[in-house]
Symmetry: C2
Subunit: 168 residues, 2 copies
């Protein structure tokens, strides 16, 4: 169903969303970032039915964002730990937090990103590590990569000169 909704297999957004799965998936990852590893920890935090939680944890394992780790032999028990791919998804979650706080927190932020040492509040923006510049739509745009097919190249070429794409 995710796959169907992103016709262009070359679209990296589509590919990413296929792996992320449904929105609830981000809740599972959020609890993992908060330190949950065991089934009962996820269940206590999310308050969903065991069979549903099992399905959701399994789907995150299949997507490669969590992996099982045996923590008890008898009885056999697995916990769920973040993979590198799952940990790296934090950058997307943090972008969502920043966007939400910028626009949907009229009463002030309830959760914000802070420096672990000083507690200083961060102002997260996308930054290009190659050129050392903050990435504004005025200066950056999506472009074809080495693996781009004709359709992708055509779409991106058209898009490059679109007014909205150029808006700040």
């Amino acid at each position: 169903m995710q796959r169907k909704s992103f016709g262009n297999q070359q679209c990296p957004v589509g590919r990413s969303l296929e792996r992320v799965g449904e929105w609830w998936s981000i809740e599972i990852l959020r609890e993992a970032y908060y330190g949950a590893t065991r089934f009962d920890e996820f269940q206590k935090a999310l308050g969903i039915a065991p069979n549903m939680l099992t399905r959701r944890l399994n789907s995150r394992v299949e997507a490669g964002l969590l992996r099982r780790r045996r923590y008890s032999e008898k009885p056999p028990r697995d916990e769920y730990v973040l993979t590198g791919i799952g940990r790296d998804f934090r950058s997307v979650v943090w972008s969502l937090i920043a966007w939400g706080n910028r626009h949907f927190a009229p009463e002030g932020a309830s959760v914000q990103l802070v420096d672990r040492e000083t507690g200083a509040v961060a102002d997260p923006v996308l930054f290009d590590r190659n050129s050392g510049r903050i990435m504004t739509p005025r200066e950056f745009r999506p472009g074809p990569g080495p693996a781009a097919d004709e359709r992708t190249r055509h779409r991106l070429a058209r898009a490059a000169f679109m007014p909205q794409e150029a808006m700040p």
Copy 2:
């Protein structure tokens, strides 16, 4: 349904996802970033049924990510343009592109973020504009904001010392 899946109303991720809506919403925004403003442009790009496209465009207007702009009086015709909130969501989409390219493009990237002038490929990371540092989970974490309630403060305090949260 989005609302139900994010119990804690204080969670900015939940709030953001409520506004983003379903995954298909990101496809609509992607086409808007690519310059689509008129109904037939969205339809040509997405190839979905008119009644479904109408519902989806309307839901993006209600969520505040697109707004209607009258471009013809007779016959009356509106186009859909990005709002500031909608344009700003690009930071989340670009984070998804970067994450997807890092992990799910074994044959190389098909779409990548490039410098508009030079075409140089960007390496997007989250950056704290306040401290001028790249935001790693080792140095940054989610913390309570001014509007945090007791439950949120408790969860974040517990999370602060969790091993997974501290992983690089």
